[in-house]
């Protein structure tokens, strides 16, 4: 159990909160290829789960849905009606494959953080948050240039119509910075930071509970241990909510960027 390794490694009498080292995972066993680590395994598992679920739901769709197809359709309609159609408009249906895959992939990766034994939300390793964000960014740039032309894109971005002239002096560089540099960065880091911080919180409270209840059980400290245990349960519930919300917001912003590239100033 990682907590015991952590806390025992310190070896002292003082409680040491877990730090960023809980995110370091080496190869699964000695001599394994260097890329076969726990996060990588979790991502592979997420891929299998997502593909398996959608295969079961959509491989032979019937006109009157039965069983898994119902659930799959609920997910599809949720993403279509809450994300694609409001953000992109009527032709959002064309982007549904991309948005649906992204949403469920990130959702399952996130939820791995609360499943026992696995307990690592994969996007807490920034690489797995960078990949979808980079794909969305490349897509956005490509679509913007294709639909608005290179000059047109910069003009629409930096000089939106209907503002007093002096405002453009401040607005243009801010908009340029925001769209070209900050957007992919915040897109990835939002997901990463939420998963990172959430996992750290759960680990912190869990190790508090473990230390004060099991490692160093004292009458005074046991209250703190119970508090830590209760808080870890609460934080787990909160983390489930945040994970789902972050997946939704990631997809929502991806749809918003794509919609902004397709119809500027809609």
């Amino acid at each position: 159990m990682i907590a015991r390794q952590l806390l025992a490694a310190e070896g002292g009498n003082e409680f040491q909160a877990p730090g960023t080292e809980i995110f370091d995972w080496g190869p699964l066993w000695d001599g394994a290829p260097s890329w076969l680590t726990k996060p990588t395994l979790i991502v592979a598992l997420s891929v299998i789960i997502v593909c398996g679920f959608f295969w079961a739901a959509f491989s032979k769709p019937k006109l009157v849905p039965r069983g898994v197809q119902n659930i799959g359709e609920v997910g599809y309609l949720f993403v279509r009606d809450q994300v694609a159609r409001p953000m992109i408009g009527k032709d959002g249906d064309k982007w549904m494959p991309f948005l649906l895959s992204t949403f469920f992939f990130i959702l399952v990766m996130n939820l791995m953080g609360v499943i026992p034994v696995l307990q690592l939300p994969a996007p807490s390793h920034i690489a797995f948050a960078i990949v979808p964000a980079a794909v969305v960014y490349v897509l956005m740039v490509f679509l913007s240039i294709k639909h608005q032309g290179l000059g047109g894109w910069f003009k629409n971005m930096m000089f939106p119509p209907g503002l007093p002239a002096w405002l453009y002096i401040i607005l243009a560089p801010i908009e340029l910075l925001s769209t070209v540099i900050l957007r992919p960065f915040t897109h990835a880091v939002r997901l990463f930071a939420n998963m990172f911080a959430g996992h750290l919180l759960i680990a912190f409270f869990a190790s508090v509970g473990y230390w004060f209840l099991i490692e160093k059980l004292t009458p005074l400290g046991s209250g703190l241990g119970v508090l830590g245990f209760v808080m870890s349960v609460v934080m787990t519930g909160f983390e489930i909510f945040v994970q789902a919300l972050q997946a939704f917001i990631f997809t929502l912003l991806a749809a918003s960027y794509i919609g902004g590239a397709l119809h500027p100033d809609h």
């Binding site: 409001p86 960065f185 880091v189 918003s256």
Partner: protein, 74 residues
């Protein structure tokens, strides 16, 4: 004159704590006003929602940069 007061430990955490004040207030204002606007004009829900999320993304960017800076300098 010696040192009057000293803060030891991870200054980065203090930095992020300070950096989170502004975006916290900002995000709260955005969504609070957004909810009020929806209550006043429910038929504009989609427009208000889009603008809310746009403002939220820009404001949260500052908080995220604040989160990241201590790691950059560690």
């Amino acid at each position: 004159m010696g040192v009057l007061a000293e803060v030891t430990g991870n200054v980065g955490s203090i930095a992020y704590g300070l950096a989170a004040i502004g975006p916290g207030i900002g995000v709260g204002i955005i969504f609070g006003q957004g909810v009020q606007a929806i209550a006043r004009q429910p038929e504009l829900y989609n427009t208000i929602r889009q603008n809310m999320l746009l403002g939220f993304a820009l404001t949260e960017a500052l908080a995220l940069i604040g989160f990241v800076v201590p790691f950059v300098h560690s």
